[in-house]
């Protein structure tokens, strides 16, 4: 492959080592062809970021390239002088990184940061460089680039900053773009739009790309070839379709069992007209976190609550345990009104409702051993005598398939996946009926996510546990929930059985959200789909919400009425509710 004319870059025997440690990368060989998009993947610590930087002849603090060569454009990058490398970097090989907001200098306007890189590489004047910056910002889909180029990085959202970074990287028309987990921390719809832009630009300009990511969805949807690293070695170098076995088809839950439950019983949990605002410090304004949420959940049922950051889904979860006091609305759990109880009664009730939080490392006292953390709730509720406690704890741990040896460890010594399972075990100690899972998989590596979801499904069959799975990860929700509740800006916009929501979404927001979902299937790549629904513009501020439909400003189907009238959640079919007054009329728009 190295002899191939189209090869842009080829590395041979590349090794990188941090001072006095095991080599991070050993003997890496790889080739990247012109216009090719190569996914670089591997678990955390496998050295993928280190490799990405090494391809630029760069290392992070303390690391050193200990051997090998990188052929690029007829030169060995590792043999170049610092000055020569300076010219290659940014001109021929460009980089974008994970944390765009810290990668840009905080005290210069972003437009200036683009233009000065351009100036450094393309012998151009200042005005020309400024024009180039604005042109690039427009190209990556930033509205009003003239104004935005004068912004400072702290004034931009994460997605916007990432676009600035890619504008900067591509401004010089590099032959190779290296993207190190460019979308981590972005919402799904933003992620999809960003990756689309990147993909399109790469196809248009013929720029080759190395895309570092852990997400199988991204690999499947955007990459031609996948290189997997394992402990600093290349473990696989295959085509994307070979890498992702097409068998990871979505399994959706059968609604029949729950149907019966519904007809016979009152729901276990009923939420009506929930509202929660947070005062904004130093002003009289409030942030509208939750605005009119109603939902119900039956015994044995699992419901997914999805929406992007800022949609208020976590706030709903917290209100259910009364960890936050709702402003308005009624929450009834097993016939008991949550607003009416407090103190001891509340603590007793909380035994039946438990929560698993997002960041496992944050949800354990860092100073306590796992044993102490698990023992404490047993002591508080006098669930078990000291003699029995060990048995109870061990039973709980075996339910989540965690070895007992973890008991003597501290949280920081354990992996995120294991710790998250221990968090579930801790909740199970209370023998709860209902579990709120607040983004339980978002901090975990893809492999650990599957383990958690399997545990949840098992607990449901073994213990008859009901749960509310709050997540922005649609794959998790699709595989583990009977019904899905979609939230946007504090409102429920659509509720329905999982199959309906995923296959026949009604609300324009749900459509966009499902459309942005990157399935782990190279056969249904997003970039090849024609019926993509994308939302325009930016999400309105929750401090200053529109009068009518919250989506109206971004919706292709919006009419004057949408902008003026408040929408209500109305039945669309049995068990499927939608908050949109124009349901069923969208076809008219397309016809006209």
């Amino acid at each position: 492959m190295a002899d191939n004319k189209n090869t842009v870059l080829s590395a041979r025997g590349l090794s990188v080592q941090y001072a006095a440690e095991n080599p991070t990368l050993t003997d890496i060989n790889l080739d990247i062809a012109a216009g090719e998009i190569v996914g670089l993947t591997g678990s955390s610590g496998s050295g993928k970021s280190t490799l990405a930087y090494a391809l630029l002849g760069l290392t992070r603090r303390g690391a050193q390239v200990t051997g090998g060569k990188i052929d690029f454009d007829g030169h060995d990058l590792l043999a170049l002088s610092d000055e020569e490398l300076e010219r290659v970097r940014g001109r021929d090989i460009a980089l974008i990184v994970q944390n765009p907001r810290s990668a840009l200098h905080p005290m210069y306007q972003v437009g200036r940061q683009i233009s000065r890189v351009y100036q450094a590489h393309k012998d151009s004047g200042r005005t020309e460089a400024q024009q180039r910056a604005i042109e690039m910002l427009r190209l990556v889909g930033i509205n009003d680039p003239e104004r935005r180029s004068d912004a400072f990085v702290h004034e931009l959202s994460g997605g916007m900053a990432q676009r600035v970074l890619i504008a900067l990287a591509l401004s010089t028309n590099p032959k190779l773009l290296i993207a190190d987990e460019p979308t981590s921390g972005l919402d799904v719809t933003v992620q999809a739009q960003f990756l689309d832009t990147m993909w399109e630009t790469s196809r248009e300009t013929g720029t080759a790309m190395v895309l570092v990511t852990q997400e199988p969805g991204i690999l499947a949807n955007y990459c031609d070839r996948v290189i997997e690293l394992d402990a600093g070695h290349v473990a696989k170098d295959v085509s994307a379709s070979a890498f992702i076995s097409a068998s990871t088809k979505r399994s959706t839950q059968s609604p029949s069992a729950v149907e019966r439950e519904r007809q016979n019983h009152e729901p276990l949990l009923r939420v009506e007209g929930l509202r929660k605002t947070f005062p904004l410090r130093g002003t009289k304004k409030v942030v509208q976190a939750v605005d009119d949420v109603s939902l119900s959940l039956f015994a044995g049922e699992s419901v997914g609550l999805v929406g992007e950051s800022g949609s208020g889904k976590s706030t709903v979860g917290r209100c259910l345990l009364k960890l936050l006091e709702a402003d308005a609305g009624k929450i009834t759990f097993d016939g008991q009104d949550l607003a009416a109880i407090g103190g001891h009664t509340l603590r007793k009730l909380r035994q039946r409702i438990q929560i698993v939080q997002q960041d496992p490392y944050d949800s354990f006292d860092p100073r306590w051993s796992i044993e102490k953390s698990l023992l404490d709730p047993l002591v508080i509720h006098k669930i078990a005598s000291p003699a029995e406690a060990r048995g109870v704890i061990e039973e709980s741990l075996s339910r989540v398939s965690v070895e007992f040896s973890v008991l003597s460890r501290r949280p920081r010594d354990l992996s995120a996946g294991v710790l998250q399972r221990i968090a579930i075990a801790r909740a199970l100690l209370m023998k709860p009926d209902f579990l709120v899972l607040d983004e339980p998989t978002s901090m975990l590596a893809p492999q650990d996510r599957h383990v958690i979801l399997d545990v949840l499904k098992r607990l449901r069959t073994e213990l008859g546990l009901s749960y509310l799975l709050i997540s922005h990860d649609l794959t998790s929700v699709a595989s583990a929930c009977d019904r899905v509740v979609v939230m946007y800006l504090g409102q429920v916009v659509e509720v329905g059985p999982t199959v309906d929501i995923f296959e026949k979404p009604i609300h324009p927001y749900t459509k966009a959200l499902i459309g942005a979902h990157l399935e782990e299937n190279p056969e249904t790549r997003r970039v090849e789909r024609l019926d993509r629904v994308d939302l325009e513009g930016e999400i309105p501020s929750p401090i200053d919400l529109p009068v009518g439909c919250y989506l109206a400003t971004r919706c292709a189907h919006a009419t004057d009425a949408c902008h003026k009238e408040r929408q209500s959640l109305s039945p669309f079919s049995s068990h499927h509710d939608v908050r949109c007054m124009r349901v069923g009329q969208f076809e008219l728009d397309e016809a006209s």
């Binding site: 970097r89 810290s102 905080p106």
Partner: protein
Amino acid sequence: MIWRFTLRRLAVGLVQLSVLIVAVFFLIRLLPADPVARFVGMNASPEAYALAEQSLGLDLPVTRQFEAFLFGEGNDGGGLFRGELGTSWVTGSSVNQEIRQYLPVTLELITLSFLIAVGLGVPIGVLGAVNPGGAADKGTLVYGLFAGSQPEFSWGIIFIFVFFVVLGIAPGPLGRLSPLTDPPDFVTGAITIDALLAGRVDIFLEALWYLSLPILTLSFVLSGPIIKMVRENVAQTMNADFMFYGQAAGLPRGVLARDALRAAFAPALTLIGILFGFMIGGAVLIESIFSISGLGQYAIRSILAFDYPAIQGVVLTISALTLLIYLAIDVCQALLDPRVSV
């Protein structure tokens, strides 16, 4: 924009200052000291005691005393609201005039010391940061820790011994000028400036000569925290993501260096400002050792003599200056750093 910000900060500062002066006024009177006894002596007759008490105004209830402090007594045209701090119980002259005389001396001393400490400390700190783990790095770390922790009075004395007693290359601790030299006319109160204004370069040089040891001592102590902080800031900036990214984008080294300094400068400015504010009230010991009659010496004298009006004046002056310096830092910060919201 910046003007509104400044005015708002100034208003907040004034409120702080008023609370502070109220606190000082009452705190002093709450403490179990007896200034009257201090003035008339322990064995004075009750009559003499009562007379003294009356003349100091201490026979009045505290609220009346406070009123007099704010509005002056009768129609004497005094009072804090007219900008008068009262009359010293010891010297009988106006506290305003005394502070006017002593404050410039202190400001002159610490400003010169700061110029030297910053002028030397900043490059040394940067030097320590650019080559992490190197000898310069370790050296600046240890020096910064050492100098930053040291008692200035002890070092002042060591320097006097070494440079005056043993080597004889520096003047003795006799004040700001030789006792035989006539000081220049009082204009600003800072002797170096006044000498230049009077066109007397010889007096200017002599003043610098006499100030050399106090400045050496102060800049030695001040250089510690400055070096330590500059070293840490620059090191932190060099490890920042945007520096790594700038390198990855192939920015020339000169541009990168400027980027690093720009980001490190703002926090450094804050610390230097805070140190300066601290030193206005902290130069007491140096002044005492070198017999420099500045605000610190005045403070010691007034406090040990229980001279309440003078004590109040000193605390008020120092606090007001400190607040002004903090205000200046905030304004500079807002001008320099776009992240600071105006």
